[in-house]
C-alpha cells in the first residue's frame, strides 16, 4: 500500500493563527488527488487518532484547484506558550507521512511514474 508521503508532492503544516494548526497535503495531479480523496483515508476519526484531537474539532477540506486536502485542528496551546513545542507549527504534519493509503483498486489511475521528488520517501 502506498503511503501518503509517497503520493504527495508536499505535506506541510503551519499555524493558522496562534490557536490552530493546519496541514496541507498537495497531490501532484488530479488523478492522484481523486484517488486519495476517494480512499477516505483522511477522515476525522483518523486525524483524531493521529493528532490526539477530538474528532468533532477536526476540519477537513477538499480543494480541487490545488489538488490539495487541508486538515485543520486546534492547537493544544497557542504558539509561543511556555509549553508549546513548535512556534511556527511547521513540523506537526509528521504523523501523516507514513499513513498507508488504500488505493489498490484505483492504483491504475495514478500517473506512473510518480514525480522524482515524491519517490524519494
Amino acid at each position: 500500500m502506498p503511503t501518503l508521503g509517497s503520493l504527495a508532492q508536499l505535506i506541510r503544516s503551519k499555524n493558522a493563527g496562534p490557536w490552530k494548526l493546519t496541514v496541507d497535503v498537495m497531490l501532484p495531479d488530479v488523478q492522484t488527488y481523486e484517488c486519495v480523496v476517494e480512499s477516505g483515508v483522511l477522515n476525522a476519526a483518523k486525524i483524531s487518532e493521529l493528532f490526539g484531537i477530538e474528532a468533532s474539532k477536526v476540519e477537513i477540506y477538499h480543494y480541487p484547484p490545488a489538488n490539495a486536502i487541508k486538515v485543520s485542528f486546534p492547537r493544544f496551546r497557542p504558539n509561543g506558550h511556555p509549553d508549546d513545542t513548535d512556534l511556527f507549527g511547521g513540523q506537526q504534519f509528521a504523523p501523516l507521512v507514513d499513513l498507508e493509503v488504500p488505493v489498490e483498486n484505483q492504483s491504475s489511475r495514478i500517473n506512473s511514474p510518480l514525480p522524482a521528488m515524491a519517490r524519494e520517501f
Partner: protein
C-alpha cells in the same frame, strides 16, 4: 476602470531587490503601494516585549526605498501591523524610523498614524454587554483578562485606511491590521467588486510568495479589470501559475474557501484561476459576503513569567537504552533537590518543562511513534518563574541534579549532560503567551481607531 497596486514584499524589512522594485514603480501605472509588517508566528513575545523580529536597519532600508519612490510618484503608501505586532510601541518605533528617513532624504508629506490598542474600559464594557465573542478554540477570560493583560491589540479592517487616505494621508502607518484589509482598502474605495478586492488582497499581502519558486522575497503587482484581477510577480525571475496562486489560498488559513475578515467573509468556492501567459495569472469568481455585525479580532499578550533554560546532550548508550525510566527518576530527583533548596512555596510558583530532542520534543504528547535511538538525545529544560532570579535559581538546581544523577549500571559519580555553551544556564527573559482568541463587536468600524495626522 483599472485599479493597480504593488505589494513590494511579504514582510517589511524582508529585503526586496531595489532594481526590480524601482523598475516596477517607475514604469507601471500604480494607484498605491501597500506593505504588511505583521505576523503572530513569533508568538506573543513580539507584542508583549515591545520588539520586532526584523532589525531596525532592515526595516529602515526597505522603508527608505518605499517612501522615496511613492513620494516621487505621489501615490499613497500604506503600512499595516507596524513593527510586527502592531502595538502602540511598535507603531511609534516605525514612526521614528519614518521621521529619520524624511529628514535624511528631505521629504515632506502627510502621515496618518492609526493605533490599534483599544481602551481597556471600553473592552470591559463590551464584555459585560456580551459583545466580546469567543472564537474556537478560545481560552476562558474574565474582566481581569481584558483589564490586566499586558498588551491587547484589535485587528482593524479596511475603513480606517480608507478614512486616512480620504483625508489626504500620503503615508498610513497602522497598528495591528488585517493583512487583507490593508490591501483591499483603496480598491474598495475605487469601486472594485468586494469579492475580487478581498481575494486579491489575501494573496498579495504575502508579496511575491504565491510564485512557483520563492527563492527571494520580492513583490507582486495586482491589477483589477471589470470582473477579474491579475497577479504578476515583480521579479522577472519569478512566475505565477494557476497552481501557485491557488495553492497560496491554503497557506496559513484553516479554511481555504471561507475566510472571515472585519465586516464580512471571503467566499472562494467558485474561483477560477487561469494563466494569462507564462507568468501572469487571472482570477475571477471570488465573492464577499457582508456580515450583519462588524467585528474585529483581538490579540492579547499575557505575561507568564521569566525564563531560564539549559540545553544538554546525552550520548551515553547505557543511559539511552533505558532513557525514559532513568529520565523520570532524574526529574523527580531534581524536583526534590529544588524543593529542598528553595522551599515548597517558591517551588510551587515555578513550572519547568523538559523537551527531549530525539524522543518527542517536537510533537510532544501527540507523538505515538517509537524510535530505537541509542545515539544521542538533546534535553532542553526551561523554567518559568515570577522573577528572573528565581528562574535562574530553579534551573541551576534542576540541571545540576540531572547532570550528576546516578545511573544504576554505573558505580560512582557521573556527568550526564554535555553542555554546548558556557555558561550553560541561558536567561531567556520574560515570556508572554496569547491569551485571547476573541472578536469584539464594534458600533462603527472606526470605533477603536482614532487617526492622528502628522505633517513632515
Amino acid at each position: 476602470m483599472t485599479v493597480s497596486y504593488l505589494s513590494p514584499v511579504g514582510m517589511l524589512g524582508g529585503g526586496f531587490t531595489q532594481e526590480y522594485f524601482e523598475s516596477t514603480i517607475r514604469h507601471r501605472p500604480l494607484d498605491f503601494v501597500a506593505v504588511d509588517s505583521g505576523s503572530t508566528d513569533g508568538g506573543a513575545n513580539n507584542l508583549g516585549e515591545d520588539r520586532f523580529f526584523f532589525s531596525r536597519d532592515a526595516v529602515k532600508r526597505d522603508m527608505r526605498l518605499l517612501l522615496k519612490e511613492t513620494r516621487r510618484k505621489n501615490i499613497p503608501l500604506l503600512v499595516g501591523s507596524c513593527g510586527g505586532s502592531g502595538g502602540n510601541w511598535n507603531l511609534n518605533w516605525m514612526w521614528e524610523i519614518v521621521q529619520e528617513i524624511a529628514s535624511e532624504e528631505t521629504l515632506s508629506f502627510t502621515t496618518a498614524l492609526i493605533p490599534a490598542e483599544p481602551d481597556r474600559e471600553v473592552l470591559v464594557r463590551k464584555y459585560r454587554e456580551g459583545r466580546i465573542k469567543p472564537l474556537d478554540p478560545a481560552p476562558p477570560i474574565t474582566e481581569e483578562t481584558l483589564r490586566d493583560t499586558h498588551r491587547i491589540v484589535a485587528m482593524m479592517g479596511a475603513e480606517p485606511f480608507q478614512r486616512a487616505v480620504e483625508a489626504g494621508a500620503d503615508l498610513v502607518l497602522a497598528g495591528r491590521a488585517s493583512d487583507a484589509a490593508l490591501m483591499a482598502a483603496i480598491p474598495l474605495m475605487k469601486g472594485v467588486d468586494p469579492g475580487l478586492a478581498w481575494h486579491a488582497a489575501k494573496i498579495a499581502e504575502c508579496g511575491g510568495a504565491a510564485v512557483t519558486q520563492m527563492t527571494k522575497p520580492e513583490g507582486m503587482i495586482c491589477t483589477f479589470e471589470e470582473d477579474y484581477f491579475t497577479l504578476e510577480p515583480v521579479s522577472p525571475e519569478q512566475q505565477c501559475t494557476p497552481m501557485s496562486i491557488a495553492s497560496h489560498a491554503l497557506y496559513e488559513t484553516s479554511n481555504p474557501v471561507s475566510m472571515p475578515e472585519p465586516g464580512g467573509t471571503m467566499l472562494l468556492h467558485d474561483v477560477k484561476y487561469e494563466a494569462l501567459n507564462d507568468r501572469i495569472v487571472k482570477v475571477s469568481g471570488s465573492r464577499f459576503e457582508k456580515a450583519d455585525v462588524y467585528t474585529v479580532k483581538l490579540e492579547g499578550a499575557g505575561f507568564q513569567g521569566y525564563r531560564a533554560a539549559v540545553l544538554g546532550g546525552i550520548t551515553d548508550p547505557v543511559v539511552l537504552r533505558n532513557f525514559d525510566d532513568w529520565f523520570e527518576e532524574a526529574k523527580a530527583g531534581a524536583d526534590y533537590a529544588m524543593r529542598r533548596t528553595l522551599g515548597d512555596e517558591k517551588a510551587d510558583q515555578c513550572a519547568t518543562s523538559f523537551r527531549v530532542y530525539g524522543r518527542n520534543a517536537v510533537l510532544g504528547e501527540r507523538e505515538t511513534r517509537t524510535f530505537a535511538n541509542d545515539h544521542e538525545v538533546g534535553v532542553f529544560m526551561v523554567t518559568v518563574a515570577p522573577t528572573q532570579e528565581l528562574a535562574n535559581s530553579v534551573m541551576a538546581t534542576i540541571s545540576h541534579t540531572i547532570l550528576h544523577y546516578a545511573v544504576p549500571q554505573w558505580h560512582g559519580l557521573v556527568s550526564n549532560l554535555a553542555f554546548p555553551e558556557a555558561p550553560h544556564e541561558i536567561e531567556l527573559g520574560p515570556s508572554y503567551s496569547f491569551v485571547l482568541n476573541h472578536v469584539a463587536e464594534l458600533d462603527d468600524p472606526m470605533e477603536f481607531y482614532p487617526i492622528e495626522f502628522k505633517e513632515i
